[in-house]
Amino acid sequence: MGTVKQVIGGLDAGFVTTKFNDLLAWAQKYSLFQYPFVTACCGMEFMAVAGPRYDMARFGAEAPRFSPRQADLLWVVGTISQRQAPALRRIYEQMAEPKWVLAFGTCASCGGFYDNYTTVPGIDKIIPVDVFVPGCPPRPEAVFDGLMLLQEKIQTGKKGPLVVPPAHLPKLAQLRQKGSTVDFGTAEIQRLEAERGEDVKLLEPGDGEG
């Protein structure tokens, strides 16, 4: 719960003090009411995300609201064509503050490989985006990464869009990555570099070359 200022009488006594904004953010991030703007293939994965196995309810984001006025999280799930763009724009404008946008899948993020006359190259050309979830379609795990990034963003009030980092990327590379969303601190980086250093073997002159 945000930054706990002071605990009076121990947690068993059951009340803590904190900043109001933190409390509000904490409440908001666990009760996201979503508007699923489902257009294309990613919708199938979206079903899986909402389905029993992956169960989005765990994140307090399961309740769909099909009226933009009641929703505060806009899932843009799938390709947005030039013809669809006005509708998306309209719906975004109808949502009430505070509102967040999650670009679900590559098409929503950048247009994907539909680089042609009819597809919008990424919804951030139309509306501001808070979290990009790459993948064609993204695995449910990636979607939850994105959801947690969003919650982190809501809590910390981070600025600017966040991107779910690829799973296979080595941790070191992730940390080094510009605009990395997780900060393990320099100590961690040094530790990993040390690890990396060990298994790198220097070629003796003459090695490998016949």
Partner: protein, 215 residues
Amino acid sequence: MSKKIIDRLQKDHGDAVEETSDFRGDHEARVKAKSWKKVALWLRDDLQMDHLIDLTAVDYPEREPEEPRFEMKLFVRSTKTNERIRLATRVGDGEKIDSLVEVWRGANWAEREVFDMFGIPFEGHPDLRRILMYEEFEGFPLRKDYPIDRTQPLVAYRKVEGTDKLPPFGPDEGQPWGRIDWQKRLDGEEVQVSPSIGVQSGDRKALSTGPEHGE
């Protein structure tokens, strides 16, 4: 697809048939554009070709001006005899062709799509509107000379920093030997499309020529 139908067509409408072919067992008959609807009706009534499968077109811009540019394709089958046939005809740019909606109601959307994508107008179609693209869209996307990456946004794009494409993306996205630039090809400027097709100059092939930037 069946040979019998081609033979009957030759017999009953020999004057209308321009050319028949059977490539890989697909029997096709190309008829004159003016007898397009007549043959279609005959197919439906005399041959019980009641099941409309598909109707589409192909663009051959290089045929002009000697030959009409577009080739319409009609796929029909009979629920009684299970026979199939592919009917074709050639339409020039801007020429009208009879609509088949009265023959098979299913042709309605198919013809709207052909009109939308190729700009072939249909005579006697109940409501000939764009169906896949929006009304504001100019040009016909599936024509060869419509550049694939020419967008016509309805909503003005936001200004986002650093989202424009950088090399190796951009004009050719690293497509080997580049994309076919139909506009240049039609202007007769393009020397070669890819090493596989095109003129042989001297000893080594020319690579495909690039876009002329303005001037």
